[in-house]
Amino acid sequence: VESGDFEEYVVARGAALLRTAFLLAGDRHLAEDLVQEALSRVAPRWRRITAKGDPEPYVRRALYTAAVDRSRRRSAAEVVAAAPAEAVAPGDDADAVARRVTLHQALLRLTARQRQVLVLRYYEDLSDAQAAAVMGCSVSTVKSQTVHALGRLRALAPELAETFGRAETTEEVTR
């Protein structure tokens, strides 16, 4: 590993990776562990990866693969119940904090796959096809998972319904 290049990349892109990992894992420490795992998977091949260009797609792919692996290993009963450690940011009003906590708790109640599809589609701004490629499933599965995830969020946090947009049926999204 070219430690200089690698470290530069981590310093430059680590925060973004951690944010994605936080949304996938729901916990700051788990997010750090997930990013470490993803980076450790690409580190041995860093020179080859960077020779091909931007390493970001490889790292992101490794991050999601690590998240899937972790969700497979964890038992279904295992739920991250911790509230966000940094729920209150400087200058936040009470409503902003409440919305943040509600969204976080609702995300934690989703399955790992549902969280993943929401992060890919609405946080990473990927298309259905790109999300399907990352998740290793079909486009229609991505669409249906998205509908189910949004529906569940609406049910879990009705006060944030505006945030989640208009309800769509499975038929509509798969058309």
């Binding site: 690698f6 981590v10 925060a15 944010r19 936080f22 990013v35 470490q36 797609p57 609405y122 944030l160």
Partner: protein, 465 residues
């Protein structure tokens, strides 16, 4: 897509992970990658090591090349083979293979067997079916060479050889050269003296029709030369001080002919005499065996391999085959009296001969229908029998002779199988190799599957939204 949701997720994520030391994150990631690589190297090294160990364990039996055992470098045999199995290839006996523990007649000739069961082919004559002989310590081997006209004694430790060109197998026939002056009896046993200086063989004059002269011949292993002891009977063994040999002579008598129309009467065993003859040919004493438990069975049969002198020279073991059963009978050499109850041994295969191990323990050949030949140790006191050596059925062996000194030592080469004769135990290498091959194929297929999944999941994705 909902911009509100994107903003909400971004807000949540930014609040969730603040003030992370990214340099530490990079260092820890590198460290984890290093540990992962170490684990992988260790796993691969362990797997390779396990395969190498398995190959090392299996290869000797498959290739016939075994690692040297301490017995190879020793001067005497120190144990006996528990299993004499299939081996490929079976090479000719080298000059200095070390002491041998056993001899086995495989149907393709005689093989010398090391204490761990490794076999070498003895390049001896096969037309007259003479038998090879081992010295009591397994160091000397005597046999008629493949030309059928020369007797050879080999020192298996030093590699030295001594030849007796005039002592052959007694083969004669049209188109063959005239027989040698002396010949070794085909089925009769030969005995090395305990000190290894002499070899006594049952011989006959090969150049005289009908074997006019037959009896023990004495070969001087150290200086060469051959002496006709001019004694009657077949050899039974040596006295412990190597000063004399014992021979056994069967005395028969013809029963009165009850029917005058029958010209030939019935010949039955009347007595058994033991002659003790010195190495100079002087008869030291003659003893007539006195069966005390019951007389010799008139219909019984004694062969030239039916007796063996104990290592102490004070007991003579006689195998009497009568009424479809074989009995072990023990006599004192001093006065000829029978000193133990006869013992019946199931499946005792009399043509292969018996021998002493130590004390009251003797070694007998056993061959039962449907079973491979084996060698059992029988306790003359208790009558208990214990299998010491078994031979693989696919060797088609008839006889296996194991030295008494070897049988007194520990069993070797049996591993976990011991002396089991179950069919699969003779194919354990093939079965293990088959399982290994199946495991390798399964591992390969699994590895390919994992690689394929990993490759798929490692492909970069176009991340431009």
């Amino acid at each position: 897509m909902s911009p509100d949701l994107r903003d909400a997720l971004d807000d949540l994520a930014r609040g969730g992970v603040r003030d992370v030391d990214l340099h530490r994150l990079a260092a820890r990631s590198r460290s984890r990658a290093h540990r992962r690589r170490q684990r992988r190297v260790t796993t691969v090294a362990g797997a390779v090591g396990a395969v190498l160990v398995l190959v090392a364990l299996l290869a000797p039996g498959l290739t016939g090349v075994r690692r040297s055992l301490p017995a190879d470098t020793g001067r005497t045999v120190d144990g006996h083979p528990e299993r004499i199995g299939w081996q490929w290839p079976v090479r000719d006996l080298p000059d200095r293979p070390g002491p041998m523990a056993a001899l086995v007649d495989t149907g393709h000739g005689w093989d010398a067997v090391r204490s761990d069961g490794h076999r070498w082919h003895i390049p001896m004559e096969r037309k007259a079916v003479t038998w090879p002989t081992l010295s009591p310590d397994g160091r000397l081997l005597g046999y008629v060479q493949s030309d059928g006209r020369t007797y050879l004694v080999r020192d298996l430790v030093s590699g030295q050889r001594r030849l007796w060109p005039g002592l052959g197998a007694g083969i004669s026939g049209p188109g063959l050269p005239p027989p040698t002056r002396w010949a070794v009896g085909g089925q009769a046993p030969s005995f090395f003296s305990p000190d290894g200086r002499h070899l006594a063989v049952n011989g006959f004059r090969g150049d005289v029709k009908d074997g006019e002269t037959s009896g023990p011949l004495l070969l001087d292993v150290v200086r060469g030369g051959l002496v006709d002891l001019r004694a009657g009977g077949f050899l039974a063994g040596w006295l412990p001080d190597s000063s004399a040999v014992a021979t056994v002579e069967q005395v028969t008598k013809e029963l009165p002919n009850p029917d005058p129309r029958i010209v030939t009467g019935q010949t039955v065993l009347a007595a058994v005499r033991v002659h003790v003859v010195s190495t100079t040919g002087a008869e030291l004493r003659t003893v007539t065996l006195r069966p005390s438990q019951r007389s010799w069975d008139p219909t019984g049969r004694l062969s030239q391999r039916s007796w063996a002198l104990s290592p102490g020279g004070d007991r003579l073991l006689v195998v009497e085959e009568a009424a479809g059963a074989a009995f072990l009978r023990t006599f004192a050499l001093a006065d000829g009296r029978e000193v133990r109850e006869p013992i019946s041994v199931l499946g005792l295969w009399t043509p292969c001969g018996v021998s002493w191990v130590s004390g009251a323990k003797v070694s007998v050949p056993v061959l039962q229908p449907g079973e491979p030949p084996s060698r059992q140790i029988v306790d003359l006191g208790s009558g208990e029998a214990q299998t010491a050596t078994v031979v693989a059925p696919r060797l088609h062996a008839q006889c296996v002779e194991v030295l008494g000194a070897a049988l007194a030592g520990s069993g070797k080469g049996g591993g976990l199988l011991g002396t089991s004769t179950a069919g699969w135990t003779w194919w354990w290498r093939e079965l293990t190799l088959g399982l290994l091959a199946a495991g390798a194929v399964a591992t390969l297929l699994t590895y390919r599957g994992v690689r394929r999944r990993r490759t798929r999941s490692d492909q970069p994705v176009d991340w431009s939204g």
